[in-house]
Every structure is written in structure tokens, then in C-alpha cells.
């Protein structure tokens, strides 16, 4: 195995899983779409037309937005909120942004610190929040994408039924949009909360998401 693959197996593994699942989803969605189209007597789509449709776009993005929201909130919340006993949490008394010394920022930067961690000023401000900012941007972008593709889908249905179409602003106030949004949010919040609390008492030998098997339940912020 090349050094690149060995050094990046986690990132590569999930990239391959993501692409495989996305392609599989596109075929399943395409078959389902055409089944419904046949039953309704409307036009069937080619594969290329389907993957460039709002139907597929909405199905993809409503799941993306909730994942990015999950990470955005988790990264942000764990700055100030703690869970005693969880390896996902900081020590209870360390809640907050921490010191420059702790973060190797400005004059505490080391030789190998990223350039913007050394610089100070707005560059360091931006860089020290870059993970949450990018996650937040991707969340808002995919949520916007879900809203416009969902809007298009919604209006297509309305037209088929001979009902009035709605504006984008009208659509984001409709139950259709919020049901698609909230059904994804609830599952993310449950999963994160479960992970945080389960990891207090349960272990996986060898995983950095877990505490060492023999670590006490009361021990916070150590990985195995």
C-alpha cells in the first residue's frame, strides 16, 4: 500500500463510501422517479436528466444540510458546553475559548504553526474560527439548495394537480419544507447526543472516539 493511502485511509474510506452511496442513491431515486411517472402517466426521465433534477438535488441536499448543521453546532457548542465523562468534551473547568498560549497563537506560535496562527489581527481571528465558518457556510448553502430544489418540486406537484404555485418565500413557510428539514435535524441531534452520553459509559478498544477501555466513567477528554 502506498504511503499516501496508509496516511489517509480514514479520509479515503469515507470518500469512497460517499461516492458509492451517492451513485447508488441516484439509481434508486431514478428507478423510483420513473415508477411514479409511469403510474401518473407523466414523462419518464433519462438518467442524466434525473441527476440534474430538483428531485435528486433535494434528496441529496436535505441530508447534507443536516450533517453540516450537526458538525457546525457540535464544534460551536463544545467550546462552551461540556459533558463530564465524555471523550468528546473538554474538562468541565476548561469551558470557553482558552488562552493564546494553549492555542499556540500569536507570540505563542511555534515554528511549524500555520502562518495565519502567527500573524495576529483579523487573519488569526478568521483562521481560529475557520472550521466552524466553513461548516456553517456549507450548512446554509445546502439548506438554501434544499429550499430551491424543494420549491421547484413543490410547484411541479402543484401544477400537476392544477393548484396555485408559490413563491420561494411562500415555500419556506410551508409544512413541506419544514417536514423535510426537521426530519433530518432530529436524527442528527439524537445521534450527537447519543454519542456524547454513550461514550461516558461505553467503550471501543482502539478507537479515538472512545476513552481507553479501563478509563473511569468520570474521566473526561481522553481518547483510547
Amino acid at each position: 500500500v502506498s504511503r499516501f493511502v496508509r496516511d489517509n485511509s480514514l479520509g479515503l474510506f469515507f470518500l469512497v463510501l460517499f461516492l458509492a452511496a451517492l451513485v447508488a442513491q441516484s439509481f434508486a431515486g431514478w428507478f423510483d422517479f420513473n415508477e411514479v411517472a409511469r403510474a401518473e402517466g407523466s414523462n419518464e426521465y433519462s438518467y442524466v436528466r434525473y441527476i440534474s433534477s430538483s428531485h435528486f438535488g433535494q434528496a441529496v441536499l436535505e441530508n447534507w444540510q443536516s450533517e453540516y448543521l450537526q458538525f457546525f453546532l457540535f464544534i460551536f457548542a463544545t467550546v462552551w458546553l461540556v459533558q463530564r465523562g465524555s471523550p468528546e468534551s473538554k474538562q468541565v473547568e476548561e469551558a470557553g475559548l482558552g488562552t493564546d498560549r494553549h492555542h499556540f497563537v500569536g507570540r505563542f506560535a511555534t515554528r511549524l504553526s500555520p502562518a495565519w496562527a502567527k500573524k495576529g489581527g483579523w487573519r488569526t481571528r478568521l483562521y481560529e474560527n475557520s472550521l466552524v465558518l466553513v461548516m456553517g457556510f456549507l450548512f446554509l448553502g445546502s439548506w438554501l439548495g434544499q429550499s430551491v430544489t424543494g420549491w421547484t418540486e413543490y410547484n411541479d406537484e402543484q401544477r400537476i394537480q392544477g393548484a396555485e404555485t408559490v413563491s420561494w418565500l411562500g415555500y419556506v413557510q410551508r409544512a413541506d419544507f419544514w417536514e423535510a428539514t426537521l426530519q433530518n435535524w432530529q436524527s442528527e441531534f439524537l445521534a450527537v447526543g447519543t454519542m456524547v452520553v454513550f461514550s461516558v459509559y461505553l467503550r471501543q478498544r482502539g478507537s479515538p472516539e472512545s476513552k481507553p477501555v479501563g478509563a473511569p466513567h468520570s474521566k473526561t477528554e481522553v481518547s483510547g
Partner: protein
């Protein structure tokens, strides 16, 4: 030291996400 391949992986994820958003925001707006 992080090698160039890791940066490539980082950019792959970033560009895939941005391309997905960009594509379907456009699709949603155009096909309406």
C-alpha cells in the same frame, strides 16, 4: 509533516461539497 496528498484530499472534499451546493442551487432556480 502533512504531505501534498492530504491537501489534495482536503480540496477534494471541499470542492465536492461546493460543487454539490452550486449545482443544485442552480438546478432549483433554473427548472422552476
Amino acid at each position: 509533516v502533512i504531505v501534498r496528498g492530504t491537501l489534495l484530499l482536503f480540496l477534494t472534499y471541499l470542492l465536492l461539497s461546493l460543487a454539490g451546493l452550486g449545482l443544485y442551487i442552480t438546478v432549483g432556480l433554473l427548472h422552476r
